[in-house]
Symmetry: C4
Subunit: 390 residues, 4 copies
Amino acid sequence: VPEPGVLADHQTRIYVEGAAGRLPALPLDHDELERRAEARLDRGAFGYVAGGAGAEDTMRANRDAFRRWRIVPRMLRDVSHRDLRTEVCGTAMPAPVLLAPVGVQSIVHPEAELAVARGAAAVGVPMVLSSASSRSMEEVAAALDGCPRWFQLYWPGDPELTASLLARAERAGYGAVVVTLDVWMLGWRPRDLQLAYLPFLRGEGMANYLSDPVFRAALDAPPEEDMAGAVRHFLRVFSDPSTTWDRLARLRQSTRLPILLKGILHPDDARRAADHGVDGIIVSNHGGRQVDGAVAALDALPAVVDAVPQSLPVLFDSGIRTAADAFTALALGARAVLLGRPYVWALAVGGEAGVAELLRNLLAELDLTVALTGHTRLEEIGREALTRAG
Amino acid sequence: VPEPGVLADHQTRIYVEGAAGRLPALPLDHDELERRAEARLDRGAFGYVAGGAGAEDTMRANRDAFRRWRIVPRMLRDVSHRDLRTEVCGTAMPAPVLLAPVGVQSIVHPEAELAVARGAAAVGVPMVLSSASSRSMEEVAAALDGCPRWFQLYWPGDPELTASLLARAERAGYGAVVVTLDVWMLGWRPRDLQLAYLPFLRGEGMANYLSDPVFRAALDAPPEEDMAGAVRHFLRVFSDPSTTWDRLARLRQSTRLPILLKGILHPDDARRAADHGVDGIIVSNHGGRQVDGAVAALDALPAVVDAVPQSLPVLFDSGIRTAADAFTALALGARAVLLGRPYVWALAVGGEAGVAELLRNLLAELDLTVALTGHTRLEEIGREALTRAG
Amino acid sequence: VPEPGVLADHQTRIYVEGAAGRLPALPLDHDELERRAEARLDRGAFGYVAGGAGAEDTMRANRDAFRRWRIVPRMLRDVSHRDLRTEVCGTAMPAPVLLAPVGVQSIVHPEAELAVARGAAAVGVPMVLSSASSRSMEEVAAALDGCPRWFQLYWPGDPELTASLLARAERAGYGAVVVTLDVWMLGWRPRDLQLAYLPFLRGEGMANYLSDPVFRAALDAPPEEDMAGAVRHFLRVFSDPSTTWDRLARLRQSTRLPILLKGILHPDDARRAADHGVDGIIVSNHGGRQVDGAVAALDALPAVVDAVPQSLPVLFDSGIRTAADAFTALALGARAVLLGRPYVWALAVGGEAGVAELLRNLLAELDLTVALTGHTRLEEIGREALTRAG
Amino acid sequence: VPEPGVLADHQTRIYVEGAAGRLPALPLDHDELERRAEARLDRGAFGYVAGGAGAEDTMRANRDAFRRWRIVPRMLRDVSHRDLRTEVCGTAMPAPVLLAPVGVQSIVHPEAELAVARGAAAVGVPMVLSSASSRSMEEVAAALDGCPRWFQLYWPGDPELTASLLARAERAGYGAVVVTLDVWMLGWRPRDLQLAYLPFLRGEGMANYLSDPVFRAALDAPPEEDMAGAVRHFLRVFSDPSTTWDRLARLRQSTRLPILLKGILHPDDARRAADHGVDGIIVSNHGGRQVDGAVAALDALPAVVDAVPQSLPVLFDSGIRTAADAFTALALGARAVLLGRPYVWALAVGGEAGVAELLRNLLAELDLTVALTGHTRLEEIGREALTRAG
């Protein structure tokens, strides 16, 4: 049934293959997907991904914030051809969706970030690789093949280590640097603390560091001989809580990649970021994993968008589960959204194929949401497409 | 106990027959009715009817919206004689309630739309037949006998097919055309996708098409020989997402029936509909089945009512479960309401008799609500009868 | 431990008797009390009392409304001596609490209204006897002994029957007439309809009618011989939905008792009641039993209070469960509150003693609430004692 | 792993000790901690601590109030060195957290307040000892060693007894007096009443009284011989509901310790307290244990802070469970917060070590919250750090 019609191609494929006995491998409902992942993972790994800071109020608030907005669909517009492609900071993507940086994916799947990379590449969705990945940025780049990629940086105090990581990212074809601002110190995460679960302490999630010449040069012994020492060094150099705005200039000079700041929630910080010449902002509260009680990321988005020049792309992270969520964030001014936990659950449940299936589903649903609300291009989607609930 | 008194006739009948051992066959509570239907139906069929788009947030929002309004009853008015009869677009009805178009009812009951038609006819409630019914509009018209009926149109791109369907509807005594605007493409429905459940793919719900000369003429082989080919053609011609307002003029010319547009949610679209000379508007989000995240239909109603001339009837669909819901929509300006899932559950649980019983209950409750709030005629029910909750 | 101190007398009694092995017989928590009653009663009787109209949204709204108000306690006022006594329409009472009229209590307890009367008399709380009681007003008056009582009237269309009932109430020492305005027709009550449960159809709840000379004179045969005929007549004469404001003058003339109108929710109706010279108003939605979707009674209270002269007492009914509820209604302007379902559950669980225990608990808690919020007399409790929640 | 880095010291300790098989003994989640305590305690003792007044609406409201505020973290500020130390009414403390006065802890743990004192001393957190403690203030002072302490006073009507208690508190090194204003009479507590559970009636929680010369002198017989008589006297002298503002002058003269009034909820009472020269105010509704229906303590905080001179410290009590709660109260103007039920659960589950562990966890989380929201000192935390939720 290849012709265009009332069923989009991806839907057609699902219904037709299902009729032939090949039902979707992945739960389409996020909560069910999470439950399925929970059944697969050990308690520590599940809690590490699922959990948030403190009493997890902010994690819940991230989700609740979406329910305060509603889309008002428009009728009888020609929506036969949609184009959701966009370009952010020089990176082209098939839809305004990227995979959010998530560290240490080896706890979820043996292929870890490589499986995610292959799944992303199958759909062409850009991957933002975490500094704290289980596989090195070079390995992941190879798995991504031509698929666009960004590198997320936990910004070390040591400028040499920073420069080394960024130089490698450039060489490996990463198209932008996402600098995380909200993890100078690890948040208080009761699920992990209760089980004393922190994979980094056994050397997991340090691939980019263990493979870095500057990092290795500072060790007393190579990690192969003294992993404990390497871990200690990692915890020490990972970040520098004394970092302030004035250090951005040096970071700027240490790479020619576009720089996006991730973790901005206050419009004044957004303005300051713009003044410092960054190339993009990512509104995020780290999925509720750092500060319990923090504002829902979506609630912070509009003021941040309003605070910066329209030319500065503002992206959104923290709470995206469905196409409706993505549409809402886009309508509130986000240029693209980052998807986090859902793809990790897909990785746990279905590996590389699971990640690809999840992305195909999300993009198909987003395409339908755009079309059925009367739009064909992202530029048309603005705040007038929304109304407050109730 | 036939005399008028503190018990309305229908209540009297229930209490007296119950005392004689004939308890109501149908659950009076909607949620219990749905559970009972779920127990009767196979998982795919139940999910198809019960489910909504995406995470079903809009489906829930449709219900929540009613709880934000409250009726303020008035006392000591003579309410001994109520008259809930009304006329919409030339169709007279015993109360401002119609059966919403629901496709492919063969998945719910072997008699499908015929059982519904007979149940509706027993009470005189107009039925809006779906284009995608399991029985042809001619068969259903026969079952409806003299009961008023409207024909819902999934508007094909092909003007010939459109004209053929409308001509048949006219001939079969349908009194108006309800043009659905929100299904150029099928919404993303996880419950169906998960089970790859889409009855149309096996030829169900195509009765009006398979019996249509224009549709049949375009097939390479008659459906009796090549149903797969017929299904493919159906999916292709079902709708045309490039349809825009300017095509309304042609539609207007292809039938002398009143035309109502179903799926309007934005006041600007309502204004535009009025400018294009349609005969009625149905505020609806398709029961939350098309766009997850869309505004609750009830929240969209007041602005649509305000946007069009008072002479243009605005009807309401999406979320009606009880008489209180119907009263609320009427008070907010709806001329009539469309009832959807409840009658499908009644069909599943009780067939023709179940549909009739559900309608008798709803009309009796609505009559009491009108009376006990101090009204006797629909014209008296306006926004001043309501207050915001809390 | 008889001296006044940090423990009020009633608390002391509970703690000391409990220490001696006599724990409170009645659950102190309302929900637990209801569950206990449910376990004791047959399904029909429980549903009749517990249920409301339609989907029971208004019944829930009645409770939710209280949570939108919060008391702001004041400190360091001399609260050593409280006096909660009050007088409403010439009736003195130990606290601003009355027992709401509840019909046909024989379904709950064999002693029915007699047990309630004795329980009320033990504490001195006035009882408002329902027209539709299972025991005649004369029997109940005897059981009440000197305890104050009011008579609730379902206002018949027949002036003779009305006059007869009121004359008997006067003779039996009832101090006021509470005229119910919201039951010209019985509400749509799914729990009862589902079970076809209506005790009146078997002659229960008709004691005042079966013992009335005017009622009996209109029967073809005495009820002892033809109960079915008596029931039919009862349903016919019970109320007259054509009753309007102008009939109040005649009612006024037919009794010298104070007249209170029960069921007022709109300030315009309150004004009209005042203009017609009634002696009191009871804001009520019949506990959510008549119109599903109706405004929460508490939400209607302030505007009604504001609409009438301060000299006209406004009472409150529908939703009172706890002392905090009573205090809130008083602070919003109610002169007294009527307690409904809780005492029926107490009757079911503990009979006469249960009713007395419930009332002692409620009055003791109310006394503490008044004291601990810095008040000693009802006149001091006004809206400034409250704040909106959140 | 002793060096400063991305893991705070306390987190490092938990993760490293856990990796060595010594997992945290105490649940980090409050609700789980409460459940664990419930499993350990007898029903009466658990209910006494967990329960609140009436239907416990205010207890719930205390918690809900926190969810209406959200913190807006700021980025790229140097947060490498935080200092949460503060001084309130002359008492220095490592963080703006005190242990709230909780009476009769012998029902929870055999070591009662002594275990709490030792746990508090291990962390240096000030303890506010209840008048109604199970161990005398002198014993507790000894257990506290050098750890700062305040004495909570249930203010007797008898000036001699008051003076005696305060003189002992001064001698035992208590640094301030917290005068409770909201328990002239014990609140209506259904959980306790249902079980007739009141440990004071068997002489528990009277250590400070039984050891007091003035109290003893008034007894007919020493408590060792006639405990019932002592209990009766205790209930009589415990408080005086006729106490008004003018008695504050005498109290002021009877001690040279700073005086804080606990239980203020209305800004006018706060103003009056300031006018009377008190040294501090504690906004509190006694954890929802006195007046069901009372305003959530957090909702009362801002207006109280605004009502008094900035020089007058306002503390906060009632509802604090997490670091986010503490931060929110501080940002709304509280100079410090009092922690109640959580430490009692820690006492029940882990004794002295449990209390210390709970406090270490809370202080570590608070330190992270301060740092990760861009602050280093308490003075920097103001209302601009918050936004309303939604």
